[in-house]
């Protein structure tokens, strides 16, 4: 079946602009995660959704970052007033059982110029 999809695959934006990154989880998966992968920081957890609620937002680096999930499916990660340090690959993952393995999408490469 279809895996986790993310769009866009690449995004180049100017410093100070807002961006939206989209994640479409595997159908039926109730848990959804956002991670960030950058050269200096490795793979960092950002936020976790169970259904439409976010029990754990502890990894969001600043209040410029927000995320929502609607209909228990698609999620959007929004970064306001982007900074150069936001440049990274943003990965989304989903799972049917939050206790076990997560399935990752291909990521969105964000470059802030």
């Amino acid at each position: 079946g279809a895996g986790v999809s993310q769009s866009p695959s690449n995004k180049v934006t100017e410093k100070g602009k807002d961006v939206e990154l989209r994640c479409d989880p595997i159908s039926g998966h109730t848990a959804l995660y956002w991670y960030r992968q950058s050269l200096g920081q490795g793979l960092e957890f950002l936020i976790y959704f169970q259904g439409n609620s976010a029990p754990d937002k502890s990894g969001l680096p600043s209040d410029r970052f927000s995320a929502e999930r609607t209909g228990g499916s698609v999620s959007t990660l929004t970064i306001q007033r982007t900074q150069q340090e936001d440049s990274a690959v943003y990965l989304c993952a989903s799972t049917a059982d939050s206790r076990y393995e997560q399935y990752f999408g291909p990521g969105t490469r964000l470059t802030v110029t």
Partner: protein, 116 residues
Amino acid sequence: AQSVAQPEDQVNVAEGNPLTVKCTYSVSGNPYLFWYVQYPNRGLQFLLKYITGDNLVKGSYGFEAEFNKSQTSFHLKKPSALVSDSALYFCAVRDPDSGTASKLTFGTGTRLQVTL
């Protein structure tokens, strides 16, 4: 807090030889452990997991890993490496008793290079 260490940035092995990629972890309770592989410009692909039971777990593409509680390790192994195994490997841990939902904490990754 949970953490994972992958002490080797890179592992080099000749095709046909056995390979080991090391991982150690720290959690307050009993860990859930995972290995993922990442090929260039791709997302992470799940290889195998340890939740409970047999300490030796088998996964995709002939990989296996051994959970060692006393050494807090979960090393990834393969009896005979292939050039196509060359990729970036991540170990991850989840502490089910941590109260921090189900987030995974990843190691820094180990690049495996298999040569002919």
